[in-house]
């Protein structure tokens, strides 16, 4: 498990904690104007660049350039493209960018223009992931999404024009969304011919506005069986349209269209998360002085003001962290990699032949692949992936 540093890819995640409004279902670390006092976007960029300086010093002897960069949020495009470019330049200066680097930003269809997308592409961005969520007005309203559905097509065309690859993000299982609403959204997506599609089941978290509505009985949660129907419909329609799944919630046209940054998470590669509340992971490695450093995850303080304040004082923005022992790592690998279409090598699951056999018999694992030494989920298995992980991991 103590792989040399060079054996793992390195990526950078940049968390941009700003949105124009907070959506009712959202529990991410983001702030709409008025929610955040004393944290400006300018202050944020400055602080993020400071964190990069610290990061470089914290990775002595590590010469890896970033192979993937991902700007997520929040809505990264709430920042001017010049600010995003300044941050990407910061990454270049800190770690370097490999020649074939994948550089993605999430974007709200309303917050991009032809000009801004062109500027991003010229600066080295290669990919844009548009938060479309749904093509059905009443579903968008329930989700508090303000964008005009027509803007999605415009944004897709502008991104194409700028030479960027395009991913469209969808949410299914919104309260009040019918199977035919969902079909309409899928068909709209397919018609726009993106390179990549993500479809996430809506999870209503307790601390959110929608969570409160649920508690008060104002919205009805979607039956998990309906969500399963929706997933199966998505997989059927997307497959028919030439997309194949490569991760439980992600489909791509060609292997080259897959989101490499996302894949790095599932494959337990290394990444540095820059920004308030961002998480980082560095696998086990040897320090230049020869000492073995165990795998570690850590995360930054959440509030942009606290984040900026810490960095302004020259301190680390880290809030908390944990070291992972080999058993933790093994559990994580099973849990994360099993979600990928490439599956996991059977060696990861030693001594669980009976569990594997049961999962094959129950139709959760692909039997033929298992005979060849790889454990891959079937479609039924993808929907019951957590159950399969529990059966395999312990």
């Amino acid at each position: 498990m103590n792989t040399a540093v060079g054996a793992r890819d390195f990526g950078v995640y940049v968390h941009v904690p700003f949105c124009s409004v907070r959506c009712g279902y959202c529990d991410f670390n983001t702030y709409a104007p008025g929610e955040v006092e004393g944290a400006t976007r300018e202050g944020y960029v400055e602080a993020a660049l400071r964190e990069m300086d610290l990061a470089r010093a914290a990775m002595p002897g590590d010469t890896r350039a970033a192979r993937t960069v991902f700007f997520g949020g929040g809505t990264p495009t709430m920042l001017d493209s010049s600010a995003l470019i300044a941050l990407l330049d910061g990454i270049r200066g800190t770690w370097g960018l490999s020649a074939d680097a994948e550089v993605t930003t999430e974007a709200n269809p309303d917050s991009v223009t032809k000009e801004s997308l062109h500027a991003l592409a010229r600066a080295g961005f290669t990919r844009v992931s548009l938060g479309m969520q749904s093509a059905v007005p009443h579903v968008l309203r329930t989700l508090d999404r303000t964008h005009n559905p027509a803007n999605v097509a415009r944004a897709v065309a502008a991104a194409r024009d700028a030479g960027l690859k395009v991913s469209l993000d969808l949410i299914y299982g919104t309260p009040g969304e019918s199977l035919s609403d969902w079909r309409a959204s899928l068909e709209a997506v397919i018609a726009l011919e993106p390179d990549h599609v993500s479809a996430y089941a809506l999870v209503i978290e307790p601390g959110t506005r929608m969570g409160a509505q649920l508690r008060r009985g104002e919205v009805q949660p979607t039956d998990p069986d309906t969500q399963a129907d929706m997933y199966e419909l998505a997989d059927t329609l997307l497959s028919e349209a030439g997309y194949s799944w490569y991760e439980v919630s992600n489909w791509a046209r060609e292997p080259g269209d897959r989101c490499r940054h996302n894949m790095a998470y599932w494959r337990s590669q290394d990444w540095w998360g820059v920004g308030p509340g961002a998480h980082s992971y560095l696998g086990p490695h040897a320090h230049p002085d020869g000492e073995q450093v165990p795998a570690r995850r850590w995360w930054n303080v959440k509030h942009p003001r606290a984040y900026a304040a810490r960095l302004a004082e020259g301190g680390s923005p880290e809030a908390e962290g944990e070291s992972l022992d080999p058993e933790d790592l093994r559990l994580e690998q099973v849990m994360l990699r099993l979600r990928l279409s490439e599956g996991i090598p059977a060696e990861l699951i030693e001594g669980r032949a009976e569990a594997v056999s049961t999962l094959i018999a129950d139709g959760l694992l692909d039997g033929a692949a298992a005979l060849r030494g790889t454990l891959k989920l079937t479609r039924r298995g993808r929907l019951l992936a957590d159950l399969a992980v529990r059966a395999l991991a312990f």
Partner: protein, 646 residues
């Protein structure tokens, strides 16, 4: 000799205030006055008494106050409720094992030795109560001045009066704002036939009235009588196991005397033991030169098992045996059975050792190995009653770190087949099939005390539980005592909880075995995916089989998580299905997203699920949570409020 005032040093600032009266009585330590030296105290100076009280009526607090007033416990060492030793007892506020404390108290300049014998207060331990009463000449009837007498107290009062004990009626907690001493004094006076003025009013909390009560004990309760020259006879009224000393046996000497190093004999078995130590409790064990007529103390013989020193048995001398035992001895008979299974099958040996150890201290606990298809290896245990069951399970979990599943309690059935064969059924899963001539079930005589506004409610409850009404007495204008004959099975099945909730907590219950009766009973089986789950089988009245089956399958449907496959749950009588529910197959169990930050969270969730999975019992391919087994213990709809731990 020292003044009692010294018992409360001037620097005392604890929660126990100084006594309100200081001009009466003096305190003598156990051996300070030769006149009340153990082994040589004249019976005339001895008073043996117990306190009859309901749980929460303040017996332990009053006992604490007496220990403090008589100087046997220094205030600074005062542990609240000194007499209740076990943690469980302290938490539940009840006394399981009785003990006897010797306290000095002077009246009119004459020192006396008071032996306070602590009695258990719950219906399950009636036999132990009766033995404790038999060791006394008098009893303090202690009643909460805000609540009045309860059914169990009334039951113990009857026992005490049957034993010709002198009763000193006392109202406690007179310091409470809600106390209504005039009303309850009248009730007590009417019950025992005394004047209202004879009812003492005390507060165990403040100490008010307690010195007067001690004086009354000396004045009113007769001194013990016995023949000092006759062959020794001492009655065992309690027997507890101590890790370091082995069995500690509490006795009351009736005739003759006991001295250290003598060889004693148990009259029920004629087994002999060497008397290694003899002494009195004051309030810690103090070895003495012996025990004479009327005295109360403890014996240590090196025996390791309380079954060799049984409550109710008579101790005599091996060299000079008494002819006749004191009588009243009987083997405890389990009334309620239930299966105990370790959640983790590999804990079985620990459970076995734990039960062996508990039995050293609890002669009424019986058990034998049982194997269940659903729950694996465990024990079928017999208890005196439901409280006894709960206490045993609590102690096993707490003192031995075990996680246990206990199956629904059941009573013992006699099943006579048409071919004349008779089966004694202590486990519903062993209820025979085939042609049954008749089934007999145990019944109890129950006495229920309630405010008169709840008469209708109680009648309704008892009717639902197949009760037959007997007489009804008014204790006062507003309180009645109702007598019912009820099947024991109906009483052990959450009857008390129902009584409490339907009478807003006012109802109290006491019951005693009253033989058995023929009843129309059937066995209801529960099937999961067509497989019978032995642990869910129950014997119920024919008229209730359908509603029982329906409620069980409904509860299980809610308690068992959806599985990969559809799981039918059925209730059946014989081969006839009487109720059915289906747990739909789960189709989706996957987190849609997994951000960097979610990875730690998800891994932790997985580790938690791992622990959860370990708790599950696999029945066929169905994972059943332990809560499902507890559900059978309750008639309530959610099934989760009863039987859960603490």
């Amino acid at each position: 000799m020292r003044a009692r005032a010294a018992a409360v040093p001037p620097d005392f600032v604890g929660e126990y205030p100084a006594p309100t009266s200081t001009n009466r009585g003096t305190v003598i330590t156990v051996s300070a006055d030769p006149r009340i030296e153990p082994a040589s105290t004249q019976p005339a100076l001895i008073r043996n008494f117990c306190i009859i009280a309901h749980i929460d009526h303040g017996k332990s607090t009053l006992a604490d106050r007496m220990l403090q007033l008589t100087g046997v416990v220094e205030p600074r060492q005062m542990k609240a409720q000194y007499l209740d030793r076990m943690d469980i007892e302290r938490e539940r506020g009840i006394t399981i094992k009785s003990q006897a404390v010797r306290m000095p108290w002077s009246v009119d300049g004459a020192p006396h030795a008071l032996n306070m014998i602590d009695t258990p207060g719950h219906v399950d331990f009636t036999y132990e109560v009766s033995r404790s009463l038999a060791a006394c000449e008098g009893a303090i009837l202690l009643v909460d001045a805000a609540q009045g007498i309860e059914a169990q107290t009334l039951a113990n009062l009857y026992l005490a009066m049957e034993n010709d004990l002198t009763i000193i009626p006392v109202l406690n907690k007179i310091d409470l704002p809600s106390a209504d001493p005039d009303r309850y004094a009248a009730e007590l006076a009417q019950l025992i036939g005394c004047e209202v003025e004879d009812v003492l009013r005390v507060s165990g909390k403040t100490g008010a009235g307690v010195p007067e009560l001690l004086d009354r004990v000396v004045r009113d309760i007769p001194a013990p009588v016995g023949d000092a020259d006759a062959p020794t006879r001492a009655m065992i009224f309690d027997s507890v196991y101590d890790t370091y000393r082995g069995v500690v046996t509490y006795v009351r000497v009736v005739d003759g005397s006991l001295k250290p190093r003598e060889k004693i004999a148990m009259m029920s078995t004629l087994a002999t033991h060497d008397l290694l130590e003899i002494g009195v409790i004051s309030p810690e064990p103090v070895p003495t030169k012996g025990l004479g007529v009327g005295e109360v103390g403890y014996l240590i013989t090196g025996v390791k098992d309380v079954r060799q020193s049984k409550v109710g048995d008579t101790v005599t001398l091996a060299g000079r045996r008494a002819e006749q035992s004191l009588g009243g001895y009987r083997d405890p008979k389990p009334m309620v059975y239930s299966g105990l299974f370790p959640l983790d099958g590999s804990d079985f040996p620990i459970l076995r050792d734990a039960l062996d150890k508990l039995q050293l201290n609890d002669a009424s606990l019986v058990y034998e190995p049982e194997s269940s298809v659903a729950l694996g290896f465990g024990f079928r245990c017999g208890y005196l009653g439901l409280l006894h069951l709960e206490i045993v399970r609590d102690r096993l979990e707490r003192e031995f770190g075990l996680d246990l599943i206990s199956t629904a309690p059941n009573v013992v059935y006699e099943v006579q087949m048409e071919d004349g064969k008779v089966h004694t059924v202590t486990n519903p899963s062993e209820f025979p099939g085939g042609k049954i001539h008749e089934v007999r079930e145990p019944v109890v005589k129950a006495s229920i005390l309630v405010p008169s506004e709840f008469i209708g409610t109680v009648m309704e409850l008892c009717q639902e539980r197949r009760g037959v009404m007997g007489t009804m007495n008014y204790l006062s204008e507003t309180r009645v005592e109702m007598h019912y004959t009820l099947p024991l099975a109906e009483v052990v099945f959450d009857f008390f909880d129902q009584l409490k909730s339907r009478t807003r907590g006012y109802g109290s219950l006491d019951y005693e075995p009253a033989g058995d009766q023929v009843a129309d009973l059937v066995k209801v089986d529960i099937l999961l995916q067509g497989e019978q789950v032995d642990a869910f089988s129950a014997v119920v009245h024919k008229d209730k089989a359908y509603s029982y089956g329906l409620s069980m399958v409904g509860k299980l449907k809610d308690l068992i998580d959806r599985q990969q496959f559809e799981v039918p749950i059925q209730a059946a009588v014989g081969s006839r299905i009487i109720a059915r529910e289906t747990i739909r197959a789960i189709r989706k169990d996957v987190l849609a997203k997994c951000y960097g930050g979610d990875i730690s969270r998800k891994r932790k969730l997985l580790e938690k699920q791992k622990a959860g999975k370990k708790r599950m019992k696999n029945i066929g391919s169905v994972e059943v949570p332990p809560e499902a087994f507890i559900a059978a213990l309750s008639t309530s709809d959610d099934g989760s409020d009863k039987g859960k731990k603490k």
